[in-house]
């Protein structure tokens, strides 16, 4: 009997099933497959939904044009100013948020006294948990009048010669700058949390080796930890960028929603792809209008995809240059 049992066990199928490895791997692959299927299905359905708009406007929909319009009555739509608005707000937000977040993360992972660590960690995570509509409310009633408007006026009077600070900010403070700053606050917790975990995951030996070679703490952080964790930090930045590109409610509430302003100036009201969709989709009564809004969704989809590919490429480059770095 013992012989027959061991014989059974030694069969290839039985052996594979014995410890559940194969069923497990199937389940895991299946779960990952769901993500793939979802992305493909969403992509397909918005591609089809935008067919009418793509036929009607063709490439001119996304092309730069001196006199763009977004006119549901005349059914003339140009996405160029909206694309500009999305890119400008997301990129400025990421440029502002990355150093702040990385510094917070370094502090939390390396320098923070234990007594402070828990409260700061908690605050950072709290910041991530605030619903975006609350950020929007706070933005409209407190942040815009007290911070954004004075800052905007200052930038306008000192750096007004730069195209990105041209024009005068509306008295309410609603502008791309307001959206950038709100987005910065919103993505700081994302980047901070991931960067902190990346830094913490770096083996102790790395730190000790560099200190033993006579490096100061600052040199250890700057020359060992950051390069080692660079690809992970880049991943964190990408996560933040994704949130900045797609953030809807808070941006809609503070950006001023001007769908034709195409200078890209931070001080003027603008619009982002996500905010225009959120604003107009519910009451879009004509087919072309609906389809044009769905095409904005396609653009956002492709934009996110492209940025992700670029980011992967960056991570890959970094990983090759710094052999020990792991994402």
């Amino acid at each position: 009997m013992a012989v027959s049992m061991s014989k059974k066990r030694s069969g290839p199928v039985a052996r594979a099933l014995q410890h559940g490895d194969v069923p497990w791997s199937f389940i895991l692959i299946a779960m990952s497959g769901i993500v793939l299927v979802l992305v493909v299905l969403i992509g397909l359905s918005i591609w089809q939904g935008s067919a009418l708009s793509r036929q009607t406007f063709g490439l001119s929909f996304i092309m730069p044009n001196a006199d763009t319009s977004w006119d549901p009555i005349a059914e003339a739509f140009d996405a160029w100013p909206i694309i500009i608005g999305t890119l400008v707000t997301a990129l400025v937000a990421i440029i502002l948020a990355t150093p702040i977040s990385v510094f917070i993360a370094i502090f939390l992972a390396e320098l923070c006294p234990d007594r402070l660590r828990a409260p700061i960690n908690f605050m950072v995570e709290m910041l991530a948990a605030i619903p975006s509509v609350v950020f929007g409310m706070w933005g409209i009633f407190i942040f815009l009048p007290t911070v954004v408007k004075p800052l905007g006026d200052f930038l306008s009077s000192t750096l007004g010669f730069l195209p990105i600070f041209s024009g005068t900010m509306p008295a309410s403070g609603t502008s791309r700058l307001a959206a950038c700053l709100i987005l910065t606050i919103m993505i700081i917790p994302t980047i901070t949390a991931v960067t902190r975990d990346v830094l913490k995951a770096i083996p102790r030996a790395q730190r000790e080796a560099s200190l033993a070679l006579g490096a100061t703490r600052w040199e250890m952080i700057w020359q060992v930890l950051l390069p080692y964790g660079l690809s992970g930090i880049l991943g964190a930045v990408i996560l933040g960028l994704g949130r900045a590109l797609g953030e809807t409610m808070a941006v809609t509430m503070v950006i001023g929603n001007n769908t034709v302003e195409q200078s890209g100036s931070l001080l003027l009201p603008g619009a982002t792809l996500a905010s225009v969709i959120a604003n107009e989709f519910a009451e879009a009564v004509t087919k072309v209008h609906t389809s044009a809004l769905i095409e904005l969704g396609v653009i956002l989809f492709i934009m996110t995809l492209l940025l992700n590919i670029v980011a992967r490429f960056l991570v890959w480059r970094v990983a090759r240059r710094v052999p020990e770095a792991r994402a």
């Binding site: 769901i34 549901p72 509306p170 008295a171 604003n279 989709f281 009451e283």
Partner: protein
């Protein structure tokens, strides 16, 4: 390689199975949450306040007092403009007929139209009129007005002007086209000779989201100005000339417009009357088509409706009731509509009772004094007698599976 091929094949199968499994419960009708028969009728009135306890069927049980047979859930979706009133109505109506539970999702007029055309709701709310092609695509659609509302210009001119401001149509057109861009413009001065109007630029705030409020407002602007009518025109979302001029700001929702106006010195915006009064925002008086200065209230709204009387098209719609000729008429007024189907399909469980209950609800909403008071308290007005009669005449012809329905409307 064959091993990985096998793994991917099997995993694909599992994906399909999982998706099928995930979809199956959705495809199968969700188990109706049947409220036990023992619940007395008095309790169901309270139940109406908790929407998750939806009475779908009443199981027969002779021993205890029963829920009325044929309890019904009516589903609606659409316009946000009348939503405050519809919400009040649907919570009040179970006290009239405890067997009816009404749902209304304020997803926007466009969404409402799509839902009624797809047959996913029993009725839809809409501020914008159905187009000919929409009538053609879904035969039997019928719009009828339910309420009228007023839109008011709100302003922030503190500290110079805090109480009253008088505006007229051409001035509003000028402001929203960007042609009048200073508060001390002669056009505004002429209307407000005593006001201390500042030499400041005007920030014009408009809705950034598509809205029945915007549609009514722009219809008024188009009614007073031929130029506005040609471009940009009137609709639930338009391209604002004042945005191109650089003085425009879009706020999301009534709240967004109100906040922008309150936070922006020397700004102007437009919101529903109820919103302005509830939030104590200063709003302007208007010079109407008869040349009289009027305030927005129930009386001036009623006068605006009376100006257009029962001049409804054969589809029971009217293009606008703004810029009416009456001396007391508030010029920026609008009707909001419900859409239903003239021939309804009988419900598998309830037969034609559903259609009957829907019509009874409409009858109650349009005739009951309490329903009218709830609307008036929110700054809306119910229909004048002549219009109501037209609505009932049409709705009396609603059929269910081709058969006439015995509702209050047809017995009227």
């Amino acid at each position: 390689m064959p091993r990985s091929t096998r793994i991917s094949l099997i995993s694909l199968l599992i994906v399909v199975a999982v998706i099928a499994a995930a979809c199956a419960p959705a495809a199968a009708p969700a188990t109706p949450q049947v409220v036990e028969k023992q619940v007395p009728v008095e309790v169901t009135k309270i139940v109406a306040g908790t929407p998750e306890v939806v009475v779908v069927t009443a199981t027969p049980d002779a021993s205890k007092p029963a829920l009325p047979d044929g309890s019904v859930q009516l589903n609606g979706a659409g316009a946000t403009f009348p939503d405050p009133v519809y919400t009040e109505w649907r919570f009040a109506y179970p006290y009239v007929d405890p067997s009816v539970v009404i749902n209304y999702q304020a997803i926007g007029s466009g969404g409402g139209k799509k839902a009624i055309a797809d047959g996913t709701v029993d009725f839809a709310g809409s501020d914008s009129l159905l187009k000919d092609e929409e009538y053609a695509a879904t035969p039997g659609l019928q719009m009828f007005p339910t309420l009228a509302g007023a839109i008011v210009p709100v302003f922030n001119l503190a500290p110079e002007v805090t109480t009253t401001l008088v505006l007229d149509g051409p001035t509003l057109v000028g402001i929203y086209s960007g042609k009048i861009n200073k508060w001390n413009d002669p056009a505004i001065k002429a209307l407000n000779p005593d006001a201390n109007l500042p030499d400041k630029g005007i920030t014009a705030v408009h809705r950034s989201d598509g809205s029945g409020t915007t549609e009514a407002f722009t219809k008024y602007l188009a009614a007073v100005s031929e130029d506005w009518k040609t471009s940009p025109g009137a609709g639930s979302a338009i391209e604002w000339p004042v945005d191109k001029a650089g003085n425009g700001v879009g706020g999301k929702g009534n709240a967004g417009v109100a906040a922008a106006v309150q936070n922006t010195p020397y700004s102007i915006g437009y919101v529903e009357l109820s919103y302005a009064t509830a939030n104590k925002i200063a709003f302007a008086q208007m010079v109407n088509a008869a040349g009289k200065t009027v305030k927005a209230n129930a009386e001036s709204l009623a006068s605006a409706m009376a100006d257009f009387g029962d001049k409804f098209s054969d589809k029971l719609t009217i293009d606008r009731i703004s810029n009416g000729s009456g001396e007391k008429s508030w010029p920026i007024s609008t009707y909001t509509y419900l859409i239903t189907k003239m021939d309804q399909k009988s419900d598998p469980q309830l037969g034609c009772a559903k259609t009957e209950k829907f019509l009874n609800f409409v009858h109650w909403a349009l005739t009951d004094a309490g329903a009218a008071k709830r609307a008036a308290d929110l700054g809306y007005a119910t229909l004048p007698e002549a219009v109501r009669a037209k609505v009932f005449d049409t709705l009396a012809k609603v059929t269910c599976d081709g058969q006439p329905v015995g509702s209050d409307i047809s017995m009227k």
